[in-house]
Symmetry: C2
């Protein structure tokens, strides 16, 4: 759960890869018990439109993870020139299919398709990505619902590593609908983890460095490699790096490397805890999607 | 639009009472034009359960304001011992009544009724209080929908008084579902007013005074009379006081006075702008409810 090296004396690693493995094992045990009780396996469907390389990688990971925990999964692939109407038909079919517990439509979609229309067409009860307005509203209001996988994964990580959040000052950089904004809501609301004083920063923030330096917990979710430098981080801060940007690198096997928003080498020595990239937030995201899908299956079985 | 006295040299008053009158006049003109085009008058219904004095005062104000702008209004009154089922029947009836554009169920409800079940039963299309999860989600996601009246009124006030918000640091004290949390979302999202760096503080915040002192725009929405004192306010700050607490006062005509969260006499001289209590945020709230109702009527007529 923690590693130390000579240069990062007291920094502990928020090892999302190891934690996600442990949680997948727990989910697998829960799924087996669920199936033993006579229920069918939880079933996640993923809709992949077009040939975007990163999207395919993400979806492949999700499908593979389903197998690891004993879920069924279905991959629905369509070419990039699919009409919006045809995609809506797919969404409606999945909404009505009682064999499917939850599904995701991998974003981004081709430019001729209205992302928002698709997101809102997904039944809130099967919206395991938590992108539907009613799920976002439930989150803002502290009501039960599906929480987007990335912020949910970060909350699980804070909880499992025993990070104290109560009364701490959290600074979230980035106000996206799928990470920064829901993250700020989750950290501020009553609960454990939660009860943070939260500052939400973004592209219009003046003197970002000064805001970041006040953070006991700093969450960077912008997508600008290395933007959080050592001078922006308070000694002893907990740093969570959501950025996963593909940066070209001809020496890398795939031709690119994944880079976080945090300049890890210089920031890590100042932190009490930090997530690596890759192997930090990323694996937790998939685990949260699996958790949401199992919850959807259990709620459906309970008639909710 | 601004007043100065000898003791508050440069402080300008965010006069919600005067502004609300002006906006009501604008709405009345718009309603008259709407009716001239052959539409029926916008129609707001209010449901009042039991005999709470403050609730009755609020509802009476709302009904009276409807008449001022040329709306129809209907007041549905029921005793405090109404069953939840009977109240749900009323809500469903209003949802289905094509003559009603929007309605509110005045909170708080008697203890035996589940507020949340009632709130979620209101059709999101008629939810002019903006309390339904899907409206809160739309707000969080920056999508069209009904914004709760108090934060909407504050945004209108900032806009109409020309308060610069872009890049400013706003501190919101109080994380309630109907004021503090939506206020923090509105101030942080892209738009004018908007684009603030926002810190959301609450009962678990450590060193609240230090957070407040950093605010260019300070919004107090707690309900603790006089809790914001002069030492908590930066020179030149814009201070918005949402608190309206009834404090017993035998010398007052009604036996109480309304007190804000801000210790006005000592804070006002430090501010660039400040809302009085009463006559600040309160009147803006009703205006926002009227605006939402007119929007509901126009959307319904447009088939949304």
């Amino acid at each position: 759960m923690s590693t130390t090296t000579s240069e990062q004396m007291d920094t502990r690693i928020l090892d999302g890869k190891a934690l996600s493995r442990r949680i997948k094992d727990e989910i697998a045990v829960e799924v087996a018990a669920w199936v033993d009780k006579g229920h069918r396996k939880p079933h996640l469907a993923a809709v992949l439109i077009g040939e975007d390389g990163a999207s395919r990688t993400y979806v492949d990971h999700k499908v593979k993870s389903c197998a690891q925990v004993g879920f069924e999964s279905t991959l629905v692939e369509r070419p990039a020139d699919i009409s919006q109407e045809a995609l809506l038909d797919i969404v409606h079919g999945l909404n009505e299919n009682p064999q499917i517990d939850g599904f995701i439509v991998q974003l981004p979609l081709p430019a001729h398709i209205d992302d928002q229309a698709i997101t809102e067409a997904v039944s809130a009860k099967k919206d395991v990505d938590g992108f539907h307005p009613s799920n976002m509203g439930n989150l803002a209001l502290g009501l039960p619902g599906f929480v987007p996988a990335t912020p949910a994964g970060i909350m699980t990580m804070l909880e499992r590593f025993g990070i104290e959040t109560e009364g701490k000052h959290a600074v979230v950089v980035g106000r996206s609908s799928i990470v920064g904004t829901p993250m700020s809501l989750l950290l501020s609301r009553a609960g454990t983890p939660g009860n943070c004083t939260v500052t939400l920063c973004h592209s219009r923030t003046q003197d970002l460095a000064a805001h970041c330096r006040r953070a006991d917990i700093l969450v960077a979710a912008v997508g600008r490699p290395g933007m959080i430098t050592a001078d922006m981080v308070k000694d002893g801060a907990v740093v969570v790096d959501v950025g996963i940007t593909r940066v070209e690198d001809s020496t890398a096997k795939r031709g690119f490397r994944l880079k976080g928003d945090v300049a890890y080498a210089e920031v890590a020595p100042k932190c009490s805890w930090i997530t690596p990239v890759p192997g930090g937030v990323g694996p937790m995201t998939i685990v949260s999607l699996l958790r949401n899908t199992l919850d959807a299956a259990q709620r459906a079985a309970a008639g909710h």
